[in-house]
Amino acid sequence: MKLGARTGGQSRGIATYFEEASERLALEDGSRVGVIGGGPAGSFFAYFALKMARSAGIDISVDVYEARLFDQRGPAGCNHCGGVVSESLVQLLATEGINLPPTVVRRGIESYVLHTDVGRVLINTPLEEKRIAAVYRGNGPKESEPVEIAGFDRFLLDLAISAGANVVRKLVTGFDWDHGRPQIMTPDGAESTYDLVAVAAGVNSHIVKTLNSRDADYQPPETLRAFISEFHLGEATINECLGNSMHVFLLDLPRLEFAALIPKGEFATLCLLGDDVDEELIESFLATREVKACFPGNVVPAPVCHCFPRINVRAAVRPYADRIVWIGDSGVNRLFKDGIGSAYRTAKAAAKTVVFRGISRADFERGFWPECRNLIMDNWIAKLIFGVTTLIQRVRFLRRGVLRMTALEQQREGRKRLMSSVLWDVFTGSAPYKEILLRTFHPMFPLRLAWNLVAGNVVRTKEQGVREEAQ
């Protein structure tokens, strides 16, 4: 007999609650979780889900499907990414008790150099401390010497293993449903049924497109083609030419959104983002004087390794359903920046939801989606900020003013670093774009910018730190 039917009135609500509770989709002792992809999103999810489940007293098992162990040099062991762990993520991970060891960090970044056609300026971190990590996602570029390094993805996968995750070194070739539960298929014909599957396969994997999810309205994210290449320069040359700085280029080249040169051990990683980067854009970028000046003898060497990975530029539609959730690149990401940070945020939000709320579509809607929505809202503001950045890229008059304002802030001790902090966070991806935008509302910001636009273009004084070059 139903409790509500017997006692009537207010008890009906209680009965409904218990009925709903008994039908609730949730992880319990013995639940099995499958994770497709052992990159940062998959490893973070496995690590946090196991850790949180243990603290909640639930005994679950997690299988991470990853065919690679990220210990091969070159593309075979790599996840095709610029490999920068942002300042905010380095700090948050340290707070979580996850410290990146020197075997993983190929170089600690302590400053940025902004290159434009009207000069360049060095932007130092306020604390003069290395808080940005340049890492390899795999085990270094093709043709690199075997050294005692560990890739970032391997480090995180080991972390997940230390928390109790089981790595299944197989490709995922298919996905289906078995009596309402997700099922993962592998090339050896094995079929494993799970209570929950987290998809962390990125946007460069075929599995994201081939996944068919019953009752899911999931649509994969929109992507753009980026370009990443590695140059072997040797550690001494890197120290001399690039130092511990990430070099960012604001050049007036059509279709170019962002370009950065990142020093890592004996190599420098070039990362180009834009409107479908192609050979023509790469050649015109490498032919600019500003880029050549970063290499010894003003000659850009041949890259030892390169790839054209796709990046997430528009969030996936409804990246969750009953018993399935999409995290990292295959779900929602920050626009152009801090992809690893987005993987951490969405993976942790998904882990919290599945352990403390449940694994139904409604649970993800309430627990996981708000984190994704924050990222999506912030990306709208990012579009505005990158629109302004593009304008600065196109208009030399603006570049002179921005460069002059930044250089003066860097030179004068105690001066409030308004433009420097905005540029720093736009380039590093450390702060939410909303916060960066709010900083430009500081009353002194437009006043100083206006003065520097006048002084940089009319007065044309040459401050130390700004190298204005004749065109």
Binding site: M52, S55, E87, S88, V90, Q91, L92, A94, T95, E96, G97, I98, N99, L100, P101, P102, T103, V105, R106, R107, G108, L127, E128, E129, K130, R131, A133, F155, D158, L159, S162, N239, N244, G265, R345, K348, A349, K352, E371, N374, S430, P432, E435
Partner: protein
């Protein structure tokens, strides 16, 4: 230290935080050891040795008090600063971020309670078995860290045992 490490490198004896100063950040030890020293009118006394992976200065994040002790490098050490603003902004969105800190503070309170109990007049000092258990617990914690360095751990263990022996001797002397 190599260019690969994160944080700021401090030379032996260099002060990271000074007792009495106001602070707006906490710290995570990336490499090396630090000593925590309490200054009083009687001089200074070492109250703890902090190891790689430990977090300190977290009280400045949660309360507007001055630093309660001085922390300085014990040999060369590398330390990462965690900004109060970055931490508090994120903790609004993800309160579980504080979980690791709460666990760490809980362990410290447990250890301090044990030490206070040992120092009270008439209390029976903790047996060698209890001390061995504490050391075993610490070893388990060290094993959980992804980047293990056997030599560093061995050296650390020896130093720790020395410190603990001194701690027990000092407690016994006070009771006498």
């Amino acid at each position: 230290m190599s260019s690969a490490g994160l944080g700021k490198t401090y030379a032996d004896g260099e002060v990271i935080v000074r007792q009495g100063e106001t602070g707006d950040c906490m710290f995570a030890i990336q490499k090396g050891q630090l000593e925590v020293v309490k200054h009083s009118k009687d001089g200074e006394a070492r109250v703890a040795v902090l190891e790689e992976g430990e977090i300190f200065g977290e009280m400045a994040i949660f309360e507007r008090e001055v630093r309660s002790a001085t922390v300085r490098a014990l040999g060369e050490a590398r330390v990462l600063t965690v900004d109060k603003k970055t931490f508090l902004r994120r903790i609004q969105e993800d309160p579980s971020l504080a979980f690791n800190l709460v666990q760490m503070m809980s362990r410290r309170i447990r250890r301090l309670s044990g030490e206070i109990a040992d120092l009270r007049p008439g209390s029976v000092p903790r047996s060698q078995d209890t001390l061995a258990l504490t050391e075993a617990e610490r070893q388990i914690e060290r094993r959980k860290r992804p980047d293990r360095r056997v030599n560093s751990d061995r050296r650390t263990g020896e130093r720790r045992r020395g410190t603990e022996r001194r701690g027990v001797a000092s407690a016994s002397a006070k009771k006498d």
